[in-house]
């Protein structure tokens, strides 16, 4: 007798990684993910890369404004200057 919805495939796991890491899945669904991870190198690597990515994002130097915002503000400034002259 197998439990319902026991089996997860890799293509599903990469979509479930966020609810998994956010810990919002019921225990049985979380356990199904852990069973898959225990036997799948590719998915273990995927989850670890996702954790690494999240850690790396946390270290991105904090720019006070994005370059896009800076460009937009600069455009406003140039328009204002053009209007004046």
């Amino acid at each position: 007798m197998t439990a319902p919805n026991d089996e997860i495939v890799c293509k599903e796991l990469v979509e479930l990684v966020t609810p998994y890491l956010e810990d919002v899945l019921p225990a049985n669904e979380r356990a199904a993910i852990e069973r898959h991870l225990a036997e799948c190198d590719g998915c273990r690597t995927y989850v670890e890369q996702m954790r690494q990515t999240i850690r790396a994002i946390g270290h991105v130097p904090h720019e006070p404004i994005t370059s896009r915002t800076r460009d937009e503000v600069l455009a406003i400034f140039r328009a204002w200057k053009a209007e004046r002259s």
Partner: protein, 204 residues
């Protein structure tokens, strides 16, 4: 043993519970969604075991009989409590229109035995200093800037600023699920962008 139980011997019952309780809870967890429900089902099982003792015949071992009662209770409970669909299925349907990983990296119909499993699995994880290297950080910044506005807002607040999910929902007026979908899409894209830099053997 069974005679002692039928006589109402405390020690015999305690011994039985010590022997099997943890195993029964684990088994129940295969049917019901959480620990508390599994505990509940197991306690219900003990009650049924005691009530059924007088009718217990020696056609099976005591353990087999208890397990069969547990399975019955757990299935009944699971049916009663089952949400129409598991959380995972609802989520998978929600995010289905935008795959986190290029579908070509999984086996398809040409390999039915391995369908939807990795054909080209991600390889290796980076040493910690690689994550902090200016090159990796620049890739991440660019990937985040390229995201649609709503995804960019969520990933910035969650993963750069370290806000909680609840705070982000409040600040941006999002439902929990929407917040999570945006975070999922954003993180998946950023991971894909840095993947070549995370594999130590595969420097681009």
């Amino acid at each position: 043993m069974i005679a002692a139980l039928k006589d109402g011997d405390d020690h015999a019952f305690t011994w039985l519970v010590d022997q099997h309780h943890a195993m029964l809870v684990r088994l129940a967890l295969r049917y019901v969604p959480d620990q508390a429900t599994a505990e509940d089902v197991t306690q219900e099982t003990w009650l049924h075991v005691l009530r059924g003792l007088s009718r217990f015949e020696f056609r099976s071992s005591l353990k087999t009989w208890i397990v069969s009662i547990l399975k019955n209770r757990a299935r009944t409970r699971a049916t009663r409590e089952r949400r129409n669909t598991p959380v995972s299925d609802t989520w998978l349907a929600t995010v289905a229109d935008e795959p986190a990983v290029d579908p070509d990296r999984f086996f398809g119909l040409e390999n039915p035995a391995l369908i939807d499993r990795w054909a080209s699995a991600p390889r290796g994880v980076a040493p910690e200093e690689q994550l902090l290297a200016a090159e990796t950080q620049a890739i991440i910044s660019r990937a985040i800037e390229a995201l649609p506005l709503a995804q960019r807002e969520v990933i910035t607040l969650r993963d750069m600023e370290g806000w909680s999910a609840a705070d982000v929902c409040n600040a941006l007026g999002l439902t929990e699920t929407n917040q999570r979908v945006l975070l999922h899409r954003a993180r998946s894209k950023v991971r894909a962008a840095v993947e070549p830099y995370l594999s130590p053997t595969d420097q681009p």
